[in-house]
């Protein structure tokens, strides 16, 4: 059986088991709705969920682009300057440790309830993995390459563009993939702090009415968005870095 068929069979089997358990054990819908109820909710509110999905995707993409851009730029600066390394890295670790749910209300006060606080939270979530991975990639240079460049009196920028940057690409993509998944979380946290649209906003409305099937429907749509965006980065990685394609060691 091919890999995709195994995955499909596992998902379908899991859904059938879930449906059967909910029905047999009479689990109340407010605790855990059956997959059929979630599917019905998606069908009933597909037009609302589509609009919400558009808003959330928009926030994820913009916030991610902002966070990844800042993360990459900081990584380059950190690589070039030890002083900046000692300033930026501890600050980056601190921002990662601080629970975003705790600071999100402050973002609403600082930036209002529009797009800005959502972008700020989303970007904040995405910066750290991109920064950390980019730094790891940029500083990991084979000693022989460095010696070769030193022997021909190559400039610092030549070393950077010819060796460090290409060498960091697999690390950069690893950071982008982690950053993208965190950006999805960031957009939802941002919407929970105040929004007129979006899947996070829809979850709050549904939850306030104990409409748990719609909460799950929103989660399912959100998961699909996250998977597609993650897949796009993986696809770009595959297209641009054939050398680093994964080789499975599992039989």
């Amino acid at each position: 059986m091919k890999g995709s068929a195994v995955t499909t069979a596992a998902i379908v089997g899991g859904l059938i088991l879930w449906e059967a358990l909910v029905r047999l054990l009479h689990v109340p819908a407010y605790l855990l709705p059956a997959p059929s109820a979630i599917a019905l909710s998606i069908w009933t509110f597909h037009h609302v969920l589509a609009i919400d999905a558009w808003y959330t995707t928009y926030e994820i993409l913009l916030g991610f682009a902002l966070g990844a851009g800042i993360g990459f730029a900081l990584a380059v600066l950190v690589t070039f300057s030890r002083v900046l390394d000692r300033i930026v890295m501890p600050a980056a670790v601190l921002t990662q440790i601080v629970p975003k749910l705790a600071v999100a209300p402050l973002f609403v006060v600082w930036f209002g309830t529009g797009l800005a606080p959502k972008l700020a939270i989303t970007a904040l979530m995405a910066i750290f993995p991109v920064l950390l991975n980019c730094v790891a990639g940029l500083v990991t240079v084979d000693r022989r390459w460095r010696e070769l460049f030193d022997s021909v009196c190559a400039s610092r920028w030549q070393l950077f563009f010819k060796i460090q940057l290409p060498n960091s690409s697999p690390y950069v993509f690893a950071g982008l993939k982690v950053g993208m998944t965190l950006a999805v979380v960031g957009a939802i946290v941002g919407e929970w702090m105040g929004a007129d649209h979006g899947l996070g906003n829809e979850m709050l409305i549904a939850n306030s009415q104990l409409h748990t099937d719609l909460v799950f429907a929103s989660l399912l749509v959100l998961s699909a968005i996250g998977l597609v965006l993650f897949g796009i980065i993986a696809l770009i990685e595959d297209m641009t870095l054939p050398k680093y394609r994964r080789v499975s060691v599992v039989g």
């Binding site: 407010y30 993409l61 006060v109 649209h197 297209m239």
Partner: protein, 338 residues
């Protein structure tokens, strides 16, 4: 193209796509208008509190008052007070307790119209628990959120009812976990507002002990950013907004089914049945005997004083506050709905 070039072109493509999205994105929906724009920030996500304002909008009351009205979801009264205080929104709806706390913190805000004229908070329990009075809570487990004014209100109600609150096992709980916890028997009672509708929807009977039976306080009110208010012409806009909103509230009282339909058209995921039941409950918090006698929207000084006293005892307020300047009835229309 070498690998770096491909990588950079890929990254550039993503950024260009993001910028393209930005230029045609959902935020770009503002339209020029000769009407005065009023952005109204609610206390929370869409629910029955939105209905009255949706009705006023759809019936054209705001347009008649020269207002282009837009309603926005909030994320709790505390945030609404802060955001209106920053001036991003001129008008909002929030718990009066947090308006007082905001004023003490120096927020440039003032309450201008009563909305809930009694506290909507109640002790809610399953019928089987036989909690029909505050006295019945002794020895039982009660759950409510740690933040906000609901729990201090309950403590004040216990004092007013001469029942020792320390004989009740109170536990802090996330608001979204209150109803499931009660239904699963994890707690005996919860403090809440509209939760009985959710509980009854699960086929369970409910006992409600309204805190408003023993507490006479103002609750949710419409408030403004005073810096916005003092700009030329905005007092006229505010008067128009309040008059139109009160008309919406009065129309809703007499046309619940139509009001629910109008709101559902605006917010399709809100259940019509739930909205109707929420409006029926809210009716008692809005159309109180006091509000009916003095006119809807008019705020009672004694109710503000009582609220201040509770907040001082709960240490939500750091010290006494000039309640007389915390609110004003000056922008209400001469003829109020009764």
């Amino acid at each position: 193209m070498n690998r770096i070039g491909r990588y950079l072109s890929g990254a550039t493509g993503v950024l260009l796509a993001a910028i393209a999205l930005c230029s045609g994105g959902p935020a770009a929906d503002a339209q020029p208008s000769s009407l005065s724009q009023v952005d109204f920030l609610q206390a929370y996500v869409p629910s029955s509190e939105f209905v009255y304002f949706v009705v006023a909008d759809k019936k054209g009351y705001y347009k008649q008052a020269g207002i282009n009205f837009t309603q926005h979801a909030g994320s709790g009264s505390a945030n609404t007070v802060k955001v209106v205080g920053t001036g991003e929104y001129p008008i909002g709806l929030a718990d009066a307790a947090l308006i007082l706390a905001g004023e003490q913190s120096g927020e440039p805000i003032q309450a201008v119209m009563g909305f809930y004229n009694t506290t909507p908070s109640s002790v809610i329990s399953l019928k089987a628990a036989r909690i029909t009075s505050l006295q019945d809570l002794v020895g039982k487990t009660l759950a409510s959120e740690a933040a906000g004014s609901t729990t201090p209100m309950w403590r004040a109600a216990m004092i007013a009812a001469h029942v020792p609150a320390d004989k009740v096992h109170w536990v802090a709980i996330d608001p979204s976990a209150k109803v499931p916890s009660l239904l699963l028997g994890k707690v005996d009672a919860i403090l809440g507002q509209l939760q009985p509708i959710q509980i009854e929807a699960q086929g369970k009977e409910v006992n409600i002990v309204p805190l408003g039976d023993v507490l006479h306080v103002i609750a949710d009110t419409v408030f403004v950013n005073t810096a916005w208010l003092h700009k030329p012409g905005n007092d006229r806009v505010l008067r128009g907004f309040i008059a139109a909103s009160l008309k919406g509230m009065e129309y809703t009282k007499d046309h619940i089914s139509e009001a629910v339909d109008l709101t559902n058209a605006e917010y399709p995921t809100l259940s019509k049945d739930v909205l109707s039941k929420q409006l029926a409950m809210e009716h008692h918090w809005i159309w109180t005997p006091d509000a009916t006698a003095s006119g809807l929207g008019k705020m009672d000084n004694q109710h503000w004083q009582n609220l201040e006293k509770i907040l001082l005892e709960a240490k939500i307020l750091r010290g006494p506050i000039a309640v007389d300047t915390a609110y004003t009835n000056a922008y209400l229309p001469a003829q109020l709905p009764h």
